[in-house]
């Protein structure tokens, strides 16, 4: 089977900073997770794949073609960047109309595609609301919906789950799985949270400091990562109650309340169990979660560990 993305000795510098360092990778069809801490080169790889950034050295192929100066290739790819760029003064529909228009859609076909994408991402009731009023999770949905507008067979999603609460995270994962299984879309998704990737796919590529340090099955990678405690920051009006619930589990390493008001730092020795159980705790008790994210530093140390002997 032909790979959908290949990079061969790909390097990219931004002034003095090296973003990709002789990266070689091959991504096959289906869902593939790109895992790495911030600054590992995930976004740069995606930007090169989308033709936004020129490769410094080496070669990259997306769907068998060189993506640089190749706008026709973008007809087959939907992209969701990691950064926030949605116009707060526009409604969701206006924004999707703009993106659809830029992708060459107009008239009834554009309206149909907007409704279809909004239906898939479950934002149909919010289409006429201003984006500025939306939560981070809703904005992530809009970004994914905009990537779907021209119905591309390949989706490149850069950290689509970051900043979402556990409930929405679970739902977004289900939607991405559906897009792969039902609509047959290939998906390359990046994250710095292994359990998120694990729920999506069993194939991952680990990037660290611009290099591919490991690729293969999630289970193999997880064994390495789980040897280290994970730090997870939760922001919620109910942090104390959440802390009480979490204290019942033996995988809880420590709880720290010095992260700021309504914030808690949870250290867990078994992140998989945490990510499995935590959504149930939230849903059963109706807790509101404003934000939840995994601290990079821990993952960074694991990646450093994995890198030993490879440089």
């Amino acid at each position: 089977m032909k790979p959908i993305l290949t990079a061969d000795n790909l390097s990219k510098w931004f002034d003095e900073v090296i973003a990709l360092n002789s990266l070689s990778v091959s991504v096959g069809r289906g869902i593939t997770g790109l895992l790495g801490p911030n600054g590992s080169g995930k976004s740069t790889l995606f930007k090169i794949a989308m033709g936004m950034v020129k490769p410094g050295r080496g070669e990259i192929r997306l769907l068998g073609q060189n993506p640089w100066s190749n706008p026709a290739l973008l007809q087959h790819v939907g992209y969701c960047p990691d950064h926030e760029y949605l116009p707060p003064d526009a409604t969701c529909r206006e924004y999707l109309k703009l993106v659809g228009g830029l992708r060459g859609l107009s008239g009834w076909s554009l309206d149909d595609r907007i409704n279809e994408a909004a239906h898939t991402l479950e934002i149909i009731k919010s289409l006429d609301r201003k984006i500025g009023d939306f939560s981070k999770g809703m904005k992530q949905r809009i970004k994914v919906a905009s990537a779907l507008l021209h119905d591309p067979p390949l989706l490149i999603l850069d950290e689509p789950l970051t900043g979402t609460d556990p409930k929405l995270r679970k739902r977004l994962i289900e939607i991405l799985l559906m897009l792969n299984k039902v609509e047959g879309k290939d998906i390359i998704v990046s994250s710095h949270v292994l359990p998120d990737i694990e729920k999506l796919t069993d194939r991952v590529v680990l990037l660290y400091k611009g290099r591919n340090i490991a690729s293969g099955k999630v289970s193999e990678i997880r064994e390495l990562l789980d040897q280290y405690p994970h730090n997870i920051v939760i922001e919620s009006p109910s942090v104390r109650k959440i802390a009480e619930e979490l204290m019942e589990y033996d995988w809880l390493y420590s709880l720290e309340f010095n992260e700021g008001p309504e914030r808690i730092l949870v250290k867990v020795s078994d992140p998989k169990s945490f990510y499995d159980i935590f959504p149930e705790i939230v849903l059963d008790n109706g807790y509101k979660i404003n934000e939840m994210y995994s601290r990079d530093e821990d993952l960074d140390s694991v990646f450093r560990y994995l890198m030993e002997g490879r440089i």
Binding site: M52, L74, P81, Y85, V99, G100, L102, R103, G104
Partner: protein, 249 residues
């Protein structure tokens, strides 16, 4: 409709919406109010003298505000999209980057053109209404606005392309508008031929029959048209090439 055309129309609509709805549009409104006050005061001071009125329009609007507004909007339209990361939507669209650059340029020309129409109309009517407007004066207004729009077309492509070459375009832009066009462009001798305002005023000397501009001894009508057209096309091609080859990390 062709997909590239649909994409370009969407970009033009989006960029124009951004230019008119952002707070920066206050600058245009401020200029309109300023021009109304200055022109009205001048009109009642000297009984709406035609010659003086055209001189005022020339100095205030054609030689100054056309370049200034083009600079303010030309240096920011692309820079803002890069800064707020919305450019990613344009770059990841299946459209040739040159088409997108052309879309930005058209949006800029039309937007600044509309603003200049507001400024010119405000100045013209504030000056000439107290003295009465006849057909001849309306004719002058149309000629004067077309000249201003021509200036806008030339200045905007210059500043839009400049965005892709230097980072702090606004500082260079201020220097260019005030020192190069505003000062060097009015010096005696051949050095003024190196400024765009020289060719715009030369063109004006053939289009307008009143005011100092009508007596401006510059280049011929055809030479001015050639220089301004070739400059615009050349800078547009350079801009397309730069936009096509630029990294947007």
């Amino acid at each position: 409709m062709n997909k590239d055309l649909v994409s370009m129309v969407s970009l033009i609509y989006y960029s124009m919406r951004k230019l008119f709805l952002r707070r920066r549009f206050v600058i245009c409104i401020g200029i309109v109010i300023f021009v109304i006050i200055v022109m009205f005061y001048a009109s009642i001071s000297i009984d709406g003298d035609l010659f003086f009125g055209i001189n005022l329009l020339d100095r205030l609007i054609l030689s100054f505000f056309a370049a200034l507004l083009s600079m303010i909007y030309g240096t920011t339209i692309l820079a803002e999209d890069i800064e707020d990361k919305s450019l990613v939507n344009v770059l990841t669209s299946p459209v040739h980057r040159c088409v997108s650059f052309l879309g930005y340029y058209i949006a800029l020309c039309v937007s600044v053109g509309i603003m200049m129409l507001l400024v010119t109309a405000a100045g013209f009517f504030a000056y000439f209404i107290p003295a009465g407007i006849g057909y001849r004066r309306l004719d002058i207004f149309i000629s004067f606005f077309l000249l201003t729009f021509m200036a806008t077309i030339v200045y905007t492509i210059f500043f839009l392309t400049l965005n892709l070459i230097i980072k702090r375009t606004i500082y260079f832009g201020l220097f260019y508008v005030f020192v190069w066009e505003g000062f060097v462009g009015f010096l005696p001798g051949r050095i003024r031929e190196l400024t765009l305002s020289h060719y715009i005023r030369s063109l004006g000397s053939h289009v307008l029959t009143e005011g100092d501009i009508s007596r401006y001894s510059g280049s011929s009508y055809l030479a001015s048209i050639y220089v301004l057209t070739i400059f615009t096309i050349l800078v547009l091609i350079i801009g397309c090439g730069l936009f096509w080859n630029k990294d947007f990390p």
